[in-house]
């Protein structure tokens, strides 16, 4: 799936289509006082979220150089190297025949390790059913040879679905066009393997990834990277503690019983 943020108009048809197809009732309405965003974030009820990023400049700009909003319809990226899949202790998170990442609801037990791992905040926990939820890429629609509901509903074709090779080609052409028009910051995110081995839902962005709340290539790292350091710290601590414990517990100070004889096993 390719999301071209440069032609997103923030209509939220994708959000509505997602909710309707997947029967997501949504959260209780709340006043966010945050531009036009009344969804807030991706969570168990919102598998699509249109971000409204206010970039209205402080100073007046010359004609053609102003930039009022960045819009981005966010979604689970279905990473090739998925952090959530990596840590899931129950193997509830699987890769489907469509190469997407799917949480099996009858296997998940709600431990939430995937939520701690997902670098995009794409997974939410629903306390009502005790499960972790995220975008399924409309797995049921894919099985019926239909595109995901969001891609079907998008009126500007900002969201397009199809074979990755074709989408990559389309994205390459689009970013080349934008750069030729002077949009120097236009860039593809997740098109290549620099971010989690490549993303099955990748984006054309009009600014740096961090502006959209996405980790850049340097920060797009897998949780397992910390195993080595973490266990090394444990080893150091354990070695020091065992030496200290043996020294302390075998030492017989002046206030211990001096007349007992060491060497008797317990």
């Amino acid at each position: 799936m390719f999301t071209d943020t440069s032609i997103c108009i923030g209509c939220k048809a994708c959000e509505v289509a997602c909710k309707e197809w997947n029967q997501l009732p949504g959260n209780e309405p709340e006043y966010r006082n945050d531009s036009f965003d009344n969804t807030g974030e991706l969570d168990a009820q919102n598998w699509r979220h249109v971000k409204f990023i206010d970039r209205v400049p402080e100073a007046p700009m010359t004609t053609g150089n102003g930039q009022a909003w960045l819009l981005m319809s966010d979604i689970c990226k279905h990473c090739q190297h998925a952090s959530c899949m990596e840590v899931c202790p129950t193997n509830a998170i699987i890769r489907t025949e469509f190469d997407t990442v799917y949480i099996q609801p009858d296997v998940c037990n709600g431990c939430r390790d995937c939520i701690a791992a997902c670098p995009y905040g794409a997974i939410g926990f629903n306390p009502k059913d005790g499960l972790a939820h995220k975008c399924t890429f409309c797995y049921d629609r894919l099985q019926a040879n239909m595109p995901p509901a969001c891609a079907k509903a998008c009126p500007t074709q900002s969201i397009t679905f199809g074979p990755l090779r074709e989408l990559h080609k389309k994205a390459d052409e689009r970013v080349a066009t934008l750069r030729a028009q002077g949009y120097d910051q236009a860039q593809l995110y997740g098109r290549d393997a620099s971010v989690y081995g490549g993303l099955n839902a990748f984006f054309l962005l009009m600014a740096e990834p961090e502006v959209y709340g996405l980790p850049n290539a340097r920060n797009a790292v897998l949780p397992r990277r910390n195993n080595r350091g973490g266990y090394l710290g444990v080893l150091v601590s354990a070695a020091l503690a065992m030496v200290a414990g043996i020294v302390a517990l075998r030492r017989r100070g002046s206030d211990t019983l001096q007349d007992t004889t060491p060497g008797e096993g317990s």
Partner: protein, 292 residues
């Protein structure tokens, strides 16, 4: 600088309780093993007390871990692959939560057998005497070291701010768990001593506590340095959490004073309780502050 855009997993009271109980269960088993292996006759009773503590705590661990799940009745999915058509057991050596589930199960077996052997009415010498018994205790102690420490690694193996920005949490939790265990055992032994048992071991346990507190202090410093380099120190110590960390450091004072020969601070009786409060507060500070 590390940048994080994650959602918190909302691991709260149950998980903090688990981290606290696992640290004490593993730590008490390790110390009971060390006391058993010293060979001093007066250490037999403290070792026996030490082996009585872990199993009830393991039961508490299993209870709170299960209650924390969104679907507690599916706790067994941690061990068995319930994916239709897959079958078999779940084990991912790269996922601390997966390894920890198995380690807790195995440690439960070791702590249960040792618990039975340590009951007041158990036959003496019990099945844990001799070479086989020593091998059993050492194997259990290695599992105890893992149980007391892997929880810190589990936090680090994520993409959460603070947790994933440091390699120190496993070592910190281990040192803290051992310190709390030494304080707890010293307190238990001292109560027995007051009832007429030999009073030699608890003083050495307090000395051990002092050493463990020193290691904990070292890892706290390393923790602050590592998250400082990652740029997330502000998350760890913002607002009231700075006060919490000051209290954690204060809780180390009685144990560290023991090393300096200022035994009065610990002898006052509140020292071990202060140490245990510090063990709990440190875990609260690490687990909760990063999720706010």
């Amino acid at each position: 600088m590390a940048e994080h855009f994650v959602h918190p997993p909302h691991w709260e009271a149950y998980i903090v309780t688990y981290f606290f109980a696992a640290g004490l269960a593993g730590g008490c088993y390790v110390l009971a093993t060390l006391l058993s292996l010293t060979g001093y006759p007066e250490d037999r009773e403290p070792a026996r007390l030490g082996f009585l503590v872990p199993f009830p705590l393991v039961l508490l661990c299993a209870l709170v871990l299960t209650l924390d799940l969104g679907r507690p009745w599916l706790f067994w999915h941690m061990l068995v692959n319930a994916t239709p058509g897959a079958g078999g057991l779940n084990f991912k050596y790269w996922s601390p939560m997966s390894v920890g589930a198995w380690a807790l199960l195995l440690f439960g077996v070791f702590s249960f057998v040792s618990f039975l052997g340590a009951l007041p009415w158990a036959r003496r010498p019990g099945p844990l005497a001799g070479t086989a018994g020593r091998a059993w205790m050492i194997a259990g102690a290695l599992l105890g070291l893992y149980i007391a420490s892997y929880t810190g690694v589990l936090l680090s193996v994520s993409n959460q701010p603070v947790w994933s920005d440091t390699w120190t949490l496993g070592g910190l939790f281990l040192a803290s768990g051992l310190s709390g265990s030494a304080a707890l055992l010293a307190w238990l032994v001292r109560r027995r001593a007051a009832a007429g048992s030999p009073a030699t071991s608890w003083q050495r346990l307090l000395t051990a506590d002092g050493y463990f507190a020193l290691i904990e202090l070292l890892f706290i410093v390393l923790f602050f340095v590592s998250v400082g380099f990652a740029g997330t120190l502000g998350v760890a110590v913002r607002g009231a959490w700075l006060v919490a960390w000051i209290l954690v450091l204060a809780s180390l004072v009685p144990a560290l004073a023991e090393l300096g020969g200022r035994r009065g601070l610990v002898h006052a009786g509140s020292g071990p309780l202060l140490v245990l409060a510090g063990v709990l507060l440190m875990r609260i500070a690490v687990v909760i502050s990063a999720q706010m």
